[in-house]
């Protein structure tokens, strides 16, 4: 039987952590793009669009991410589509992130006081001009801290994809444990790596919140 040094364990985990990072980035950015589109439907004037997005958000917020992963992985298989684990994982996480980001950003847009809409209306601006020049620049500022904060949830969410067989950090932890029979050491290291990924994000969210608030202390 082989002996595994701690370095062997760490090296394998770090290699797998790359996939956690890639999946997080893809999910977060893909989710952001989808959320941007959904946001405009959600706050736009079309009733059908609003109802659709509301339903979408409620569906994804009201079911566990794990179920969404299962449905993406096994559900599409029922239709004869062979979905590789990475695709199912990416797809489910993108759609899941989009639902939460839409809701976060909607809150930011709606937190802009009515007077801003009224003042820009009274100056003759149309809806798109108001959005572009008055509402969104202010909403974006408010949105940065909660958005960065949510990215932590995305990183941790990727751990669930190990269950459908995507080899990222958690899955690698399981594999390495099966080979080394040192679950405490291995999962301890896995947790440590997650922490190193998430903590800087949480911290920067806090710092950003303080910084952006100072610039806006009276509003």
């Amino acid at each position: 039987m082989n002996d595994f040094t701690t370095w062997d364990i760490v090296r394998n985990l770090l290699l797998a952590a790359r996939w956690t990072i890639v999946l997080s980035l893809v999910s977060f950015m893909g989710g952001g793009i989808v959320a941007g589109i959904l946001l405009f439907l959600r706050i736009g004037s079309s009733r059908a669009g609003r109802i659709f997005v509301q339903g979408y958000v409620e569906l994804f917020q009201g079911t566990p991410l794990l179920m969404q992963l299962f449905l993406a992985f096994f559900g599409l298989g029922l239709f004869g589509v062979n979905v590789p684990a990475w695709l199912a994982a990416g797809l489910a996480l993108i759609l899941w992130s989009a639902a939460f980001l839409t809701e976060i950003w909607r809150g930011c847009v709606e937190s802009i006081v009515r007077g801003q809409w009224e003042a820009s209306s009274s100056l003759g601006m149309g809806y798109v001009q108001q959005m572009r020049h008055v509402i969104l620049p202010q909403a974006l500022r408010i949105a940065v801290p909660p958005t960065v904060g949510f990215s932590v949830q995305v990183v941790k969410g990727t751990a669930l994809t190990s269950i459908i067989g995507f080899v990222e950090l958690s899955k690698a932890g399981t594999i390495v444990t099966n080979a080394t029979f040192q679950p405490f050491t291995v999962y301890g290291l896995v947790a440590l790596i997650y922490f190193c990924l998430c903590w800087p994000l949480s911290k920067s969210s806090q710092i950003l919140e303080r910084k952006l608030n100072v610039a806006h202390r009276n509003h």
């Binding site: 007077g115 801003q116 009224e118 003042a119 820009s120 209306s121 009274s122 100056l123 003759g124 601006m125 149309g126 809806y127 001009q129 572009r132 020049h133 008055v134 620049p137 202010q138 500022r141 806006h216 202390r217 009276n218 509003h219």
Partner: protein
């Protein structure tokens, strides 16, 4: 011909009829003060004139531009009447100068250099030339309100609507704003202002409108309205009863 024509305007919020048939014609250069208790419909009337509220019946026109609820007509109307709000509503992410430039550039497509020249001119007119680069939260309430006036003026409206523009100000800041409004009045700007500043209304306005329960209850030159109010409601409002 009247500049602003308000004819039989009715406005309901649900079952609550806030305006019950308002008729008011304003001539060019007139300065009109609208007074009355809260809930009498005076702010609603002002907000109807530039389309922030839709009206249920009647018609409003400003210099030939009709109030109709589509974006094109609203824009035409809003280019003729500026509005100034109780809460200033400056854009907090832009400097004072940028606040004044923005609508010129996006609504009128004025080139940046011209818009800036206009902004500097208007800020100077309200006595804030040196505050071009200051953000709203670096300005006092009175200064913010004067920037709001400059912002409205930069669109070169033919009338200004002022909705209790000094009510959110500390007492010592009220006068600097009123001085600017007085200056505008003397230059011949048509003004409609909802106000609680009775002394100002008496000194500056050409006519005073007293609103009560959604109607124009009494109207006339300030001397008549303030010195010999005809109706018991106005007498009570002015505290002479």
């Amino acid at each position: 011909m009247s500049l602003i024509e308000i004819t039989e305007v009715k406005k309901r919020f649900g079952s609550n009829e806030v305006l019950k048939g308002i008729n008011l014609d304003v001539d060019p250069g007139e300065v009109i003060a609208i007074i009355g208790k809260s809930g009498s419909g005076k702010s609603t009337l002002l907000r109807c004139i530039n389309g922030l509220e839709t009206i249920d019946e009647g018609s409003i026109s400003v210099a030939g531009a009709q109030l109709l609820p589509d974006e094109l007509h609203l824009k035409a109307l809003r280019l003729k009447v500026g509005m100034i709000f109780q809460q200033f509503n400056l854009f907090p992410h832009l400097t004072a100068g940028r606040n004044v430039m923005l609508s010129q550039m996006v609504v009128k497509k004025t080139p940046a250099a011209d818009a800036e020249a206009m902004a500097r001119k208007m800020l100077e007119r309200v006595g804030l030339a040196q505050k071009f680069d200051a953000y709203p939260d670096q300005l006092s309430g009175g200064q913010q309100q004067r920037v709001a006036i400059a912002r409205a003026l930069a669109m070169q409206p033919i009338a200004l609507l002022c909705d209790e523009i000094t009510s959110a100000l500390d007492p010592e800041l009220v006068n600097e704003v009123l001085a600017v409004v007085k200056e505008l009045a003397s230059e011949g700007m048509t003004l409609l202002m909802v106000t609680h500043e009775m002394r100002f209304a008496r000194d500056v306005c050409s006519r005073v409108v007293f609103m009560h329960q959604g109607r124009v209850h009494e109207i006339g030159p300030p001397e008549a309205v303030f010195s010999s109010p005809q109706t018991p409601e106005l007498q009570q409002f002015l505290g002479v009863l």
